[in-house]
């Protein structure tokens, strides 16, 4: 891994990795190899900031030149197409664990036709890693351990399995880098087709089971209880590697101070408007606002349920992928100890009890 790290540095990649920062394990840009954490610990935040920034500009509306005399409305799209700047910075995500690769797979599917995501993504190199100290979880959904079979479904460039001491490549780019560095890469393709199929279908079958549970347990009292406990702080959704909701919002440059002028012609001071896309949070009431006094899901109970329905129903229905990769970050960041594993188990149990006469 050190060789690869040095190669990335030499080639001017910004390198993101697991690293301890102010006492917590985080994911952030790192400068030297020594600060990279290779343990089996899961950091508190996710990689998504690298490929889906929490706030980015979609395009700007600029004021047209005065002589063009565009009636009243003073703002125009910049450029003919209002085009966006293609990402040029090259980023390497160094040491993504297997479950985070699965989350990336979901992002790649969700934003397959998103020009902003794609222009960033094509400059991102994925170097995966599995620690030799990983421990198996008995619950399939929350098992975070690496297996070669899982690897074959995900998108990555290079992967290092510490236990088997093997490098894998998942793209021509990755192959070329290893070749340049004279590192031998193992194949995980041939002969494992059925094993791969079995492991993928095992994960999927397990997931469909959870989907069914969420689908049928929407009336459970457990939701009422969660609605009372949860603070709607939204930390879980920020930390979750698969949460991808967003808001689209406008910013004035320079910022307007209220009262905002009503006549378009009075917006003289505004130089431009920036349309931004930022992470949305379905735990917040604002996310569900329809009009001034009309809000759907106007209680925390329904918003928590909305979150689970997204992960366990909408995502698998739409993308045929898992909407929760079992990393348990949401539980670890929650100030009131709301535990997804426990909740799922309880919902499952409540259904079983209901079925019994």
């Amino acid at each position: 891994m050190k060789l690869i790290f040095d190669w990335l540095k030499k080639n001017n990649f910004e390198i993101w990795a697991h690293a301890v920062s102010e006492g917590d394990l985080r994911i952030e840009p790192v400068d030297n190899f020594k600060s990279v954490d290779f343990s089996a610990e899961v950091p508190l935040d996710s990689w998504k900031q690298a490929f889906f920034p929490s706030n980015h500009c979609l395009f700007e509306f600029n004021k047209p030149p005065a002589k063009k005399k565009i009636p009243l409305n003073p703002l125009l799209l910049r450029g003919e197409t209002g085009g966006f700047k293609e990402g040029t910075k090259r980023i390497a995500l160094f040491g993504m664990r297997i479950f985070d690769l699965e989350a990336l797979q979901l992002y790649d599917a969700v934003f397959a036709r998103d020009p902003y995501y794609q222009s960033r993504r094509k400059n991102i190199l994925i170097i995966g890693f599995a620690s030799k100290n990983e421990k198996k979880d008995t619950e399939i959904l929350f098992d975070k351990t690496f297996s070669e079979e899982r690897l074959s479904s995900y998108n990555f460039d290079i992967f290092w399995g510490e236990k088997s001491k093997r490098y894998f490549t998942g793209s021509p780019k990755g192959k070329k880098i290893l070749k340049d560095l004279k590192i031998e890469s193992a194949s995980f393709g041939a002969g494992t087709e059925s094993a791969r199929h079995n492991s993928a279908s095992m994960l999927w079958r397990d997931y469909l089971n959870w989907k069914k549970i969420i689908d049928t347990a929407l009336d459970s009292k457990i939701w009422d209880e969660l609605g009372k406990t949860c603070l709607a702080c939204g930390k879980c959704s920020i930390a979750c590697p698969t949460c991808f909701c967003f808001d689209i919002a406008d910013e004035f440059q320079p910022p307007l101070t209220p009262p905002i002028p009503t006549e378009a012609s009075e917006q003289g001071g505004v130089e431009r408007v920036i349309r931004t896309r930022c992470w949305g949070n379905c735990f917040y009431q604002e996310f569900h606002r329809m009009a001034i006094n009309n809000i759907f899901n106007d209680n925390i109970r329904d918003r928590i349920a909305f979150w689970y329905i997204h992960k366990f129903v909408r995502v698998p229905v739409e993308y045929k992928l898992r909407g929760c990769v079992g990393c348990e970050r949401c539980h670890r960041v929650c100030p009131v100890d709301i535990d997804i594993k426990k909740n799922l188990k309880r919902l499952e149990k409540s259904l079983k009890n209901k079925k019994r006469p």
């Binding site: 979609l58 395009f59 509306f61 565009i70 009636p71 009243l72 409305n73 703002l75 125009l76 799209l77 197409t81 209002g82 085009g83 966006f84 969700v110 934003f111 036709r113 998103d114 020009p115 794609q118 929407l218 009336d219 991808f244 909701c245 967003f246 808001d247 689209i248 919002a249 406008d250 004035f252 307007l256 009503t262 006549e263 378009a264 917006q267 505004v270 408007v273 349309r275 896309r277 949305g280 379905c282 996310f287 569900h288 606002r289 329809m290 009009a291 001034i292 759907f296 899901n297 329904d302 909305f306 329905i309 997204h310 129903v313 909408r314 229905v317 739409e318």
Partner: protein, 281 residues
Amino acid sequence: MKNPYLPRIATIFNKKKEDDDIYLFTLKFRDGTLLNFNPGQFVLAGIPGFGESAFDVCSSPSDKNTFQICVRKVGVNTAKMVDLKINDSIFVRGPFGNGFPIETVRKKNLLLVGGGTGFIVIRGLLQCFLSNGKTSDVLRTSDVEQKKKIQIFYGARDWNSLLFRDEFDSWGKIASLHLILEEPPEMPACPRGLITKLFEITKIIEKPTIIMAGPPMMYKFCLQEIQKRLNVPDNKIYLSLERRMHCGIGVCQHCAIGEKYVCTDGPVFTYEELKKIKGAL
């Protein structure tokens, strides 16, 4: 790769007051492109700095060069929009959503139920039926002449809050219009009450396909009436839903209900689909 977030600039071709704070805008894209929509589809429109809101397109698809939306002042963006004048610009993305299954419903007896501003969607459908149908995706007037079996239920607060009053006569050519008001005027005579009462006092056409647009409360009570009085299968009842939209393309999750998205799977759903989704209505 096409940028789905990029709006087109539309010029306000005409602006007509329908009620206090409600205006009908006729728009035309400045670059000469067309909207090409189905009745029941919506656009996201707004003014830079104030975001975008969803509007049902309420003109006939056969009017190719312009399209109409009805704007009600309910938030910051719409407040800005209703202040605009003829020749000002609005930024528009779309069309989005599924729209009504015109080919299916054109052959049926129709009961159109609209409450308040929900009626804007119904108006779009009527415009479509009324247009002389130069395109194949539009109901030909002759079809309608032959059967003349469209019934319209329209409920509102008072006479002034009825939208499109000057079009009532033209609708009479293809449909029978039944109005009901919470506070009816002395003249013209009009029953007093909520829209549900129309189910009680009107002889409803045979085997209707029902299309409804209005607030969730209206759906709830009208569905009760329908189940009580009529024998209409759930898949022959269409409802148009309203939710907050951000992306319009089924990604941002703002408009999600159960496993569906109002922006891509809707906004038109059958009751058969909706009754399975908790909290949809």
